[in-house]
Symmetry: C2
Subunit: 473 residues, 2 copies
């Protein structure tokens, strides 16, 4: 039964691959309306599949209306076909459980009863709730222009000044014209990608990396290449080889408290990465969204590079509020100037002035540093507790992070995290299976745990059952 | 002196045109790193300029590092060149005063002392201030999850339900799975463009149209074609011809209270537009951001079409608050499903839950309909007053709109609105010169006035001076 499914799955997968290849060519406009498709024989040879697989793929695409057969002369793109950008179809649809959208959609749309040890944020009651309430009360008394008007194109000057002061503590030197506030950290990354990338460009990410980098890059229709991540940063020898061979335009990474591994970039790796990047004119987005969760500062690409080829990105969603949305971009002043235009064109201005006011109010309050000190201590305790509980189940962290809220854990031999995640979802628990983070799909034995979202006894009962049944001991 | 400047300007403009053409090819990846540029003779013939103009353009591009000369073999794209997307350079940089970014950047970044009769929003004290303050106070008392957590991928269910009820009043039938909340109205338009468009596609807009449609479409690197707008909608004969000749993928328009003219789509024009659109598989974005300002309902493409090829877009920035940002997309359910993925990838979820809560709170309050009734009456009075004042200065409205806050006015003969806008800016008054709205650059005798932002005596003193000196009477 298992065998049959697999064989059928493989045959179907080949047909789906051919369909995806044709869809991608049409979506990317490499094949336009009315263009002739490659002959069945030729495409079969190119894709190393049987001619009957191509015939089936073409028939199914014709049934969908994307292409049309003309008697005696082959297949053509339908004259009126202009398919929209369906991100789910950009790559062959393998298993929805390892799709990079799976964890985000499941956790964002989960109702209150669902447990989310796979999600990427802290529980609401770990956030500075009292300070947020104070900030909203202050807002209700503020100037009518703040409540009703659009904001300036670069966003709140007060918040940008606060950020510059924080940057100086991190060793990142910048001036006020190097900062742009955005609608969120993800929007900041997206805006930089829109600025730097064109369809077909190559982009380098860590393997494993934050799954939404993969989703975001699909929207930019670029080629995604992964570099293996080590406990001290990307594997530099591989990094250099990929730069020489693939000439990527951009590298996206987290340096401190790397997502999902919790690893820390070493100073030596940082230096070598920047040297290679400069030699190949590679731009780097350093997503520093977990910066405030570090117990003490670690090396930053942005600090070494001085924001020449490095773009620093961050937000307040992990430590202050994810409901009040705001992110930032720190980069070269001439790039910021163009990014302002791009943000006006695509969002009509910067982030919500109401949002930036609330954030500035919380950050300026005396209680925020104390809140963060307590939060870091609480996370350290919870991390140790979780590590022990996981060890008892045979799950081993890849490394013990210095801070943050992720543990990247290897499952006992023979277990596939996608199977475990599927079983967990049936019991209303959203896990984060390894392959959603992996470009090369080589992380099937890993799960990412959010230590602050893994405290409910019900989750542990479920994990014991899921692992037990899978291990058949 | 004037003549000299003009001649020098023209010569420079030709060189700049050649430079822009090459930059656009490199930006669009039609010319890749290492590719040979067209020969000087050939490009001179193609662009109908002298060979010396091409030589100068190539020399200047070489000085910028974009291209390199190889002795005896012509010019090549620099091997490492991957220029970022500078929207200001997408079209030849003519006059910054008629750049589509000019009005937005000037009005968004204006300090409190600057008058903004050219801007596109109401003064803060025309907005429902008391209701907003109440909503923020309620927020300060709400659930901690609302204050700190990410929201769902489609945004607040309560607000979507409210919108569906409003849609029914407008004759637009839709179900809950046809609605997606977004970060703003502009982001809604941008998301649909990302879904439907690829670089090189053709997009149709009204001429004149809202200037930010032009800015937004530059970011999508599409060909923009304008259709003349009449007092009852687009010129249908021209519309049909353009569809046949150019096969645009998308048409973006405002049906009720058209921006900048204040015109209203007639039922007959709506019907013909939709018939032509269906014949050519044209998608239509109907930006209905001014809907609530209409005195009584007028025809909507979305109501006739039933959200098949029409996508309805809107926001709350014009009548409730532009600081609390939120927009929406109503479209086919299968398109919404893909747009959810696209918004997760590029914004990590929907709009700020705090923002949607405030908006839902204000809309549900009993006072909002009364506020809107009063606002419409106030606008009608102010519009009549402004019409009289403008007439006294020799400015004539193209038509008297049924509602909204814009008057699209023709200047006395011989006056150029770009000159007037430049003179006004020197006196801290931001005007909206006609050509920022015009793809064909044929609106140089028009200015768009925001009636609610044109009440200050200082503005009228300035206008009298500016017109007087220009008219030399």
């Amino acid at each position: 039964m298992d065998e049959t499914t697999q064989t059928r799955g493989r045959g179907g997968a080949r047909t789906t691959d051919v369909m995806s290849a044709i869809r991608a060519k049409v979506a990317g406009r490499a094949l336009g309306p009315g263009d002739r498709l490659p002959s069945i024989r030729k495409l079969a040879a190119t894709m190393a599949v049987s001619p009957s697989t191509v015939v089936e793929a073409y028939d199914r695409l014709a049934a969908e209306g994307l292409i049309r057969a003309r008697r005696g002369s082959g297949f053509y793109v339908a004259a009126t076909t202009m398919p929209p950008l369906a991100l789910a179809d950009v790559e062959p649809r393998r298993d929805r459980a390892v799709d990079p959208f799976w964890v985000s959609r499941q956790s964002l749309d989960a109702d209150a009863a669902v447990l989310k040890p796979g999600c990427g944020w802290l529980p609401a009651d770990w956030m500075p709730e009292a300070a947020l309430r104070r900030a909203f009360r202050a807002l209700a008394r503020s100037d009518d222009s703040l409540l009703a008007d659009y904001g300036s194109t670069r966003g709140s000057l007060a918040l940008r000044r606060y950020l510059l002061a924080r940057f100086a503590e991190d060793g990142v030197e910048a001036s006020i014209d190097q900062l742009l506030l955005t609608g969120s950290g993800t929007q900041a990354t997206d805006l930089v990608c829109r600025f730097l990338l064109r369809p077909g460009d190559t982009v380098l990410v860590d393997d494993p990396c934050y799954f939404n980098f993969r989703a975001l890059l699909r929207a930019h229709q670029v080629k995604i290449v992964g570099v293996p991540y080590t406990p001290s940063g990307p594997d530099v020898a591989r990094f250099e080889k990929i730069l020489a061979a693939e000439r990527p335009r951009l590298y996206i990474t987290n340096s401190a408290l790397h997502n999902p591994t919790g690893a820390t970039l070493s100073l030596q790796t940082a230096h070598r990465v920047l040297r290679a990047a400069a030699a190949h004119e590679l731009a780097i987005i350093e997503d520093d969204i977990f910066a405030d969760l570090e117990p003490e500062r670690s090396p930053r690409l942005a600090a070494l590079d001085g924001l020449t080829n490095v773009i620093r990105i961050g937000s307040f969603s992990k430590t202050l509020s994810a409901s009040v949305r705001c992110g930032y971009i720190a980069a070269r002043p001439d790039w910021i100037e163009h990014l302002v235009d791009l943000q006006v064109a695509t969002s009509f201005g910067g982030p919500s002035p109401v949002a930036t006011e609330v954030i500035a109010n919380v950050l300026a309050g005396g209680g925020y540093r104390k809140h963060m000190d307590e939060l870091r201590q609480k996370l350290a305790r919870t991390r140790r507790d979780l590590g022990r509980k996981l060890a008892a189940l045979g799950l081993e962290p890849w490394l013990m992070p210095r801070g943050g809220f992720f543990l990247w854990c290897r499952l006992p031999d023979g277990l596939d995290s996608t199977d475990v995640a599927r079983a967990a979802l049936a019991e209303d628990v959203v896990l984060a299976p390894g392959n959603v983070f992996s470009v090369s799909q080589t992380a099937s034995s890993f799960l990412r745990f959010n230590v602050a979202q893994s405290t409910e006894p019900r989750m542990w009962d479920m994990m014991r059952r899921a692992l037990g049944s899978k291990m058949r001991q």
